[in-house]
Amino acid sequence: MNRSIMKNKQKKYIRSLCVALFWICVWQICYWVVGHEVLVASPFDVGKTLWKNAGEAWFWQVIFHSLLRIVKGYLFGIAIGAVAGVLATKYYILYELLYPMMSIVKASPVASFILLTLVWMKTDSIPSFISFLMVMPIMFTNVMEGLKRVDTDLLEVAQVYRWSLWKKICFIYCPQLWPYMAAAATMSLGLAWKAGVATEVIASPSFSIGHKLRDSKIYMETAELFAWTAVVIILSMLLEKGLAILLRRIQSTSRRKIR
């Protein structure tokens, strides 16, 4: 049993490796086809740059600070979006008030109120704020959708057996909201990350991936640019993986099967 699991894991790693290799090949071919180092850096150069950077302390500091900023905004977005979704479902008047606000948040281009945010916030917190704005409406929509589809049959069970609100939340609402919230959390993680980094490019706080991207773009250091892009992508994948594991763990410890 144990051995077969190990073998399975090995197999999975090998497959992941193959996939990674496949995409790196695609990249290399792109490089050959384009034929300009300034446009597309070769995987090899990018690897070298990454390796060089990884040896330096500031590299990790930059990553750490960017991560911190964006994850902060993300978590706030998740929390506030969920709460807003619940309240808007419960109180119709709040829905009427919040819905246009969410549309505004979703639709208004950052460029429009960057001056405003610059006045009110430190450059450090703008990326957090933007990733917050990215995540919140997604969570809001999905929580509302999930609540709309909660099984009324089971709510009737709770009613006749006089369950407390708390019990209803634990046993009926949470398990049914879970997939919607999980989907929203997974989906918005990458977006928040991307939007956060994009804002860092504009607002450029000093220890930030966005700042590095900006500099390497201005000075046409394509290998550097691709290396930082790779960092962004790898981090995003790691975050997503981490989130998936976290979600799975939460789900399996609390309850087994959630439809």
Binding site: V38, L115, L118, V119, D124, I202, F207, I218, M220
Partner: protein, 311 residues
């Protein structure tokens, strides 16, 4: 210190010094202030400065509007716009950067504006200073058959040059250094600063960056501001005399990411210190040019007399 907008600490020996807050933009306009910032950091300056190194003009503009900073270094056209938008609550005290626009080519065919005739030039900055200046220079020199291909970003123009999609481009610092560092076949063909002098008059130059000050601040702290101007002029002089050392300071204070880049870009950035009548005479024709091209570029009306600071 990992604050994004770097606030230099001024720990010691500050008794009796006036507190002054100042904003500098990363890039050429900030380079002249490097030595001052260093002095300030060591407590050797005559005022107690709190310096913000901002990433974009937007950030500085926001701080000026909100009166968070007393002194700011800005692009000249933005200074004029802000003057109008704040109902004249700022003054311009000095020009600190002259033309940073250059015409680059691959090859060796352009030596004067007239050589551009019949060629295609790629550039960014449509509807902004680069377009207006370039157009003005072309018109004044009666070069009419230049095809201008506008691109969206300076970085795109640089890439186009590097990949051979464009042969002649107009680029500002610091993008130009980027090109020159990665592509040895590119050559600086024309210096807009020089062209300007040739076209407008020997004494004139093309002002791109300036120092502005809040009027409110001036009312109460005239001496402190005079001290600042003195110190700043020194700082600029230092930069011109000791480029290597300044380059290190520029890197240290995060005005540019690397000392080598700073050193390379240094001669092209035309850092100056110019105040009083000379400043006014430099700025006015420039604003007029912009105003003629598009009144919005200077905030709908030409700045009046009270815009110019007098000692």
């Amino acid at each position: 210190g990992c604050q994004p907008s770097k606030v230099e600490d001024t720990a010691m020996e500050n008794v009796g010094k006036a507190k002054v807050s100042m904003a500098v933009i990363k890039g050429p306009t900030g380079m002249g202030a490097a030595y001052l910032m260093e002095q300030n950091a060591q407590g050797l300056s005559k005022n107690d400065y709190t310096v913000t190194v901002a990433a974009s003009p937007d950030e500085v503009a926001a701080k000026v509007i909100n009166k968070e900073v007393d002194i700011a270094m800005l692009p000249t056209n933005l200074a004029a716009v802000l003057y109008q938008k704040t109902q004249g609550s700022i003054e311009v005290a000095a020009v600190n950067t002259l033309g940073v626009l250059y015409l680059l080519e691959k090859g060796d065919s352009i030596h004067s504006l007239a050589d551009l005739s019949g060629k295609t030039v790629s550039m960014a900055g449509q509807g902004a200073v680069p377009q207006y200046v370039f157009q003005y220079l072309l018109d004044k020199n009666q070069v009419t058959d230049v095809t201008i291909q506008y691109m969206t970003e300076h970085a795109e123009v640089a890439t186009a040059l590097a990949t051979g999609q464009a042969d002649i481009v107009v680029l500002p610092e610091p993008n130009m250094s980027g090109v020159l560092m990665s592509d040895t076949s590119a050559r600086v063909a024309l210096d807009f600063n020089q062209l300007w002098a040739e076209t407008v008059g020997e004494e004139s130059s093309l002002p791109m960056g300036c120092v502005v000050v809040q009027k409110d601040f001036l009312e109460n702290n005239k001496e402190a501001f005079e001290l600042f101007l003195e110190e700043y002029e020194n700082s600029v002089l230092f930069a011109k005399e000791e480029p290597e050392q300044t380059a290190q300071l520029i890197q240290k204070h995060e005005i540019l990411p690397k000392a080598e880049i700073a050193l390379k870009a240094f001669p092209n950035c035309n850092i100056v210190y110019m105040d009083g009548i000379l400043m006014k005479e430099t700025l006015e024709p420039f604003y007029e040019l912009l105003w003629n091209a598009n009144p919005k570029a200077v905030g709908e009306t030409m700045p009046d007399e009270s815009f110019y600071y007098e000692k």
